[in-house]
């Protein structure tokens, strides 16, 4: 195993795959991820692999044993702040990505300060009311931002029901829209990852300038 891969080696390998035009767009972009659970931890890893230049990681929670069924943490990280755990894991995958982390609860008083530098904001909370509040705030106060949110990925309904819907020019909603963890009681790694993959793909499409009506 190779201990040190240089920034140039990683960049060249990525450039060979995706081309310099896309890579330059991705590496000059900043994406905020609000909530680092099953959605957020998977979105972050996908975007880091794709070459996004900077991630803003926001969560107020610590890694818990109950997270192991679907979130991108390790048993050895139980008890650690999720911001710190994810930072460690991202560093192992993409050592040169710029990371800014905030171990804090997002709310009215700090939305603007924490999100103002992002080109795209991912809503990756688990509580429905928190999702709704963030969407309201960003759409009203930061209309120039793109927002990619999620609703409905609990249970084991068909994976084909997970979709991405463009609600407005700047607001995309991923998920099946109805599978509520409060009713179904369970979340499964692959179905949550599917929804996270929809979100991460949508972010890359926005950054690439491929937005469909």
């Amino acid at each position: 195993m190779k201990d040190v891969v240089t920034k140039e080696e990683l960049r060249e390998a990525l450039e060979e795959r995706i081309g310099s035009r896309l890579l330059e767009k991705f590496e000059s972009s900043t994406v905020a991820i609000c909530g680092l659970g099953g959605l957020g931890s998977n979105i972050a890893i996908s975007l880091a692999r794709a070459g996004v230049g900077k991630l803003i990681l926001i969560d107020f929670d610590r890694v818990d044993v109950s997270n192991m069924n679907r979130q991108q943490y390790k048993v050895a990280q139980i008890g650690m702040e999720k911001t710190e755990g994810l930072r460690e894991n991202l560093r192992e995958i993409a050592p040169y990505i710029e990371l800014e982390s905030h171990f804090v609860k997002l709310e009215d008083s700090n939305y603007h300060r924490l999100l103002k530098d992002a080109d795209v904001i991912c809503e990756a909370f688990d509580v429905a009311e928190e999702k709704s509040k963030l969407v309201d705030f960003v759409m009203e106060n930061m209309p120039e931002k793109y927002l990619v949110a999620a609703s409905g990925m609990a249970g084991l309904a068909t994976p084909n029901s997970i979709k991405t819907h463009r609600v407005t020019s700047h607001f995309y909603l991923c998920g099946d829209g109805e599978s509520d963890v409060e009713k179904l009681g369970s979340l499964f790694a692959p179905r949550v990852m599917l929804c996270a993959a929809h979100q991460a793909t949508t972010v890359l499409r926005i950054l690439a300038g491929k937005m469909e009506a």
Binding site: G38, A128, D136, F137, A154, T168, F171, G177, D180
Partner: protein, 64 residues
């Protein structure tokens, strides 16, 4: 005629708050789009549905 989630309704003249009270939507768990823009919750009370409006209501459910 006001189109709500693709269905034509006769709700013109109602405020958004009044309309939502006739439905099972929980205002704390939705986003409402009208003619391409999201209407923030603080404006539901003063938003009057107009003839020709196209409204979409999306629901948030728990899990992440």
């Amino acid at each position: 005629m006001v189109k709500i989630n693709g269905i034509e309704t006769e709700t013109q003249g109602m405020t958004l708050t009044e309309y939502l009270q006739t439905t099972s939507y929980n205002p704390g768990r939705i986003a409402v789009e009208r003619n391409g823009d999201i209407i923030p919750k603080a404006k539901y009370e003063e938003t009057v549905l107009c003839d020709g409006d196209a409204i979409e209501i999306v629901s948030f459910v728990g899990g992440g």
